[in-house]
Assembly symmetry: D2
Homo-oligomer: 80 residues x 4
């Protein structure tokens, strides 16, 4: 029996991230999405936008066909 | 960059499951283990033992190289 | 960026398997489907049917949004 | 029962890639490694080196605890 999921190589926030504290953010997404933990990933606001920074996923939760990803922003790109 | 994980097709409890309420159990495991959600999986006490029942994973959490799986036992096999 | 895939816990043939030789079969499926290799999986003709046997996936190929799975039937259930 | 695998977000060649034709390369790796197909991935010679280009995985094969990945180099970074 199959479980649909989506393998992710980037964190695309669409502006929906919420700051937990300091550089730690939480982002909720529909469906089951597999983000690699403990490795650096690019963060973008949209799929087409430039990378806004680099983050490391610290926690991944799947429940009720929803994904909650907690990531730490480890570097932020200057945009000016 | 790589993230090691283990794809699971069964729930092997080794007797470490904890009942949350009713037929809902929580099991913690070392490492990142991918259990399919929302589909029936066999539950066994050890890898070599007979299936003790069928469960459906309702929630999966990965953090600090640990997996927490919450499953609902949907049928229990008689063992006598 | 995301890649959709489907995590599988069973081999559902829908009668589309082709025998390569002896107990070795090849099955093609649409999309990217992740079958665990080197571990026993149930084989069914349809998702609802009884297991017809147990197989071990020996090879998995993904290309052009198609999955080719080569499996060895290791036991066959009697159906009478 | 579990199948160990490694989720990849980059292609690290260690100089072991072989050119098939034009911009198409084949790389073999030990173990089962999951590279997302059909999405752009960075190519590096070593994990610590700068990206040498961007590639798209066109084919992934798993067999005998070995991974064969076929990728198309879609852009090459200048290194001088």
């Amino acid at each position: 029996m199959g479980m649909p999921m989506e393998l992710q190589t980037l964190i695309v926030t669409k502006g929906n991230e919420q700051r937990v504290q300091g550089n730690l953010f939480v982002l909720k997404k529909d469906g089951y999405r597999l983000y690699p933990l403990d490795v650096p990933l690019e963060v973008r606001r949209t799929l087409q936008s430039e990378a806004s920074g680099i983050a490391v996923v610290k926690k991944l939760e799947w429940e009720n066909n929803r994904t909650t990803v907690t990531y730490e922003l480890v570097s932020l790109y200057s945009t000016n």
